[in-house]
Symmetry: D2
């Protein structure tokens, strides 16, 4: 038996085994596909809370042990989600989604942290439900704290501002009117995984929006999904990612972003 014959026989065997294993695998049903609207719950409606007054230009600056992710001047701490340069625009001490240029993320990666971030919906915002000032803060690139204009704009409760997108509805809706700055303070503990990649402990998050607790040590159930059910995949430290949602809404701005590793 010469070498070529062995090679051919081996190849044939491999093809047969593959075909067999696929046939076998096809024997196992896959979960039926879902639609977005299956995980959108409008009821009960979230109560509106008017947040406390705060002098607009008197926002708190970063504590001395924080990493300043945006100090109003440039995007030196950020890059495009694909690793290229970030293309969002910087002006007047804020940066703004540059529609269609894609998400941006921090160059540094984080595990457990306290994150401070402010965002502003443009005063002339239009649209409704999810198509009104939609963006998002993806903790560790996977777990979305929703950014959306829900000032007099109702959407599904588990997808409005302050929600862990499609996982946990906010306790209240303390959104400020378009044109005002909203303040997010987020305390996050990363999930932990075992050496074999299985889940040891879920991520948890506390979210304070404009001084009002909207998520209270919420357990995150896995990646926040537009379609289907959340699940975990093992990962290590990862970036903060901000979403370019790409819909026809007016551009959303961010300022005063800092993070403290915990």
């Amino acid at each position: 038996m010469n070498y070529q014959l062995i090679k051919k026989t081996t190849l044939l065997l491999a093809v047969c085994l593959l075909a067999f294993s696929q046939a076998y695998a096809q024997d196992v049903p896959k979960p039926l596909p879902m639609k977005p609207g299956m995980t959108e719950f409008w009821e009960p409606e979230i109560d509106v809370v008017t947040p406390g007054e705060q002098t607009d230009n008197a926002f708190i600056s970063a504590p001395s042990d924080a990493i300043v992710l945006f100090d109003g001047k440039n995007l030196s701490e950020w890059e495009h989600a694909d690793g290229s340069d970030a293309k969002w625009t910087v002006a007047d001490g804020a940066f703004t989604v540059n529609k269609g240029t894609g998400d941006i993320k921090t160059k540094k990666e984080f595990e457990d942290f306290q994150l401070h971030l402010e965002f502003r919906i443009p005063e002339d915002i239009t649209g409704k439900s999810q198509a009104r000032g939609n963006s998002g803060i993806f903790l560790q690139e996977r777990y979305e704290v929703q950014v959306l204009d829900n000032y007099n704009n109702r959407t599904y409760a588990n997808g409005q501002v302050g929600s862990i997108y499609k996982q946990s509805r906010p306790l209240k809706n303390p959104m400020r009117a378009p044109g005002s700055w909203n303040v997010y303070d987020i305390i996050y503990a990363a999930p932990r995984f075992k050496e074999d990649g299985s889940l040891f402990s879920r991520a948890t998050v506390t979210v304070i929006l404009n001084g009002v607790v909207v998520q209270n040590h919420t357990t995150i159930l896995g990646n926040t999904m537009y379609i289907g059910l959340p699940d975990y995949e093992a990962h290590g430290p990862a970036s903060i990612r901000l979403q370019d949602h790409g819909d026809p809404s007016e551009p959303i701005s961010f300022r005063n972003i800092w993070i403290r590793e915990m």
Copy 2:
């Protein structure tokens, strides 16, 4: 304006308001309906474990502080799920599902507990996947620990024996062969609700099947659902309910059931 007129006017107004509120309510989308197969996950397959040997007639009896729910003699601690008499059959120190007569539940209600229960799939069981020895233990009438013959019978992982049905797949599959007794030891903490009915803390459960931990302080996400997503509704102490699944499988038997309030 006389009384009759007031009454009629009020009624008319009420009807109008109701119509208006319904019209308004109809304005809010409802979640799209789901199908059972959307929450059935076959992969990855659960590893089989051969449980330890145990002399069949040497099962552990109840500790002195336990409430004996079945001592082999009668159904005095049980009733039909609708409150009428339980119609399952008692023989040879066990009771057996009487197909089509409906679920049975304990007359007593429980909150936090340790539950011991043994079950046997008949030796001549037929069928496959979910249609093979299907029953269930509903903790507090809501949260199902699956009973199914998964000895050489694959089904979706999150619906096989040892699973919290469609919520949490078992860590392992230590099922004994049909005709043998399987032993469940379940440590359960009930959910707690606030006075306004909102959830304070989720239920947790540890499940040991034939001496092998299959659920390790698992957080229960809400009612276990055949179709759709789990959610909580406020409740107090409730019964243990056993399922008459009603399919053409041979009848499943139970014995040696006791519970310790914790």
Copy 3:
């Protein structure tokens, strides 16, 4: 046997039983008494963090769903810990400890909440370690979040500002200098007890001091004790109590106190 004789005999028997039960009880050792210094841990020292800048008169006001516990005008929401009138002094939009008059507490009682409170150490504070600006916020009258001047004043780590007193040291020390206002934001979940008075779940608390997380979903182990070990006793909703520590320190002031039930 007449009535007087029965009465005397009964009394004698009761006395004998009491003596016997005490003798019996004395047979069981009691834990040896502890001293305060046994639960005071100075090492490792807590890192100092300079908090962010905030315009002093631009503090955030109460959200619309908050109960305002002090709006700068009067002590109408407070009373002496013994239920009599609160005797602390109100001036310039703040109230101040009136040394020796005793603790004050809210008239309303609370379970789970978000609490905002600001405090100021007088600029001419003297003393050191615990004898420098000592007060405290007792959540549900039992669990003390420490108030102390730790600006350039070291004390045992588990007893400094931001600590759960003698239970959990703060993660950082973001204290402002005497004369400045410090801001506490506290998210608290009450312990839950079973019907028999045993503990179901421990209290948890997240504490943010001057914008810096100092307690991150910390589990409270029981009543905060000056001497000895913490333990739980069953209780329901209870007040927020502020401490008149009574040492020769200058008086501490409070302002802008509001609470949101959760």
Copy 4:
């Protein structure tokens, strides 16, 4: 300045700095020393429960995925705590403490696991309180599940059989009489530490003694201490250690030990 002079000067400087730093360190108070009796709580007494009957020679054997740590034949899975050979005696399918030879531990190290272990107090045991059949199972060499004869032998509740030693009293006392085998089933999750050595999550443990839950997902507060308060120090996977308590009690035996990594 020659090399020898530099060397001497540097040495002198180093000594001075050390002396200075020690002097400085001495300036910080150390916690006052405690006595054992300060952490021994006899009240309330733990309720006795008579465990269920079990045929003595019908104990459950190891599941197929378990690591058998003792199969009745030899100490091949064990070594002396100092790494030398284990000197305990093997006879009649059990091994027995060889008083004065020291603790033994598993050669393998573990993180999260389910542990099964049986122990027997000799029938002619003497002594009382802690001096009666005292041994212990140290999970990860640090966290002691108490082994003690508490059949008609009272001791401090947080130090009796089923306790996490001096941390968590058992829920019940289901001890069998001397001469009988007692069965421990232990479900343990290791603590997790951050890269800087600080604690991320505490260890938890569920303990079932003779079929009765005695610890229900108990949070371990740190190393179990005879004197003083528990605290955590960062560590990785570690052995199961069994204690040679060294008191004049009769020797304790162990059998049927297996562990499943989780």
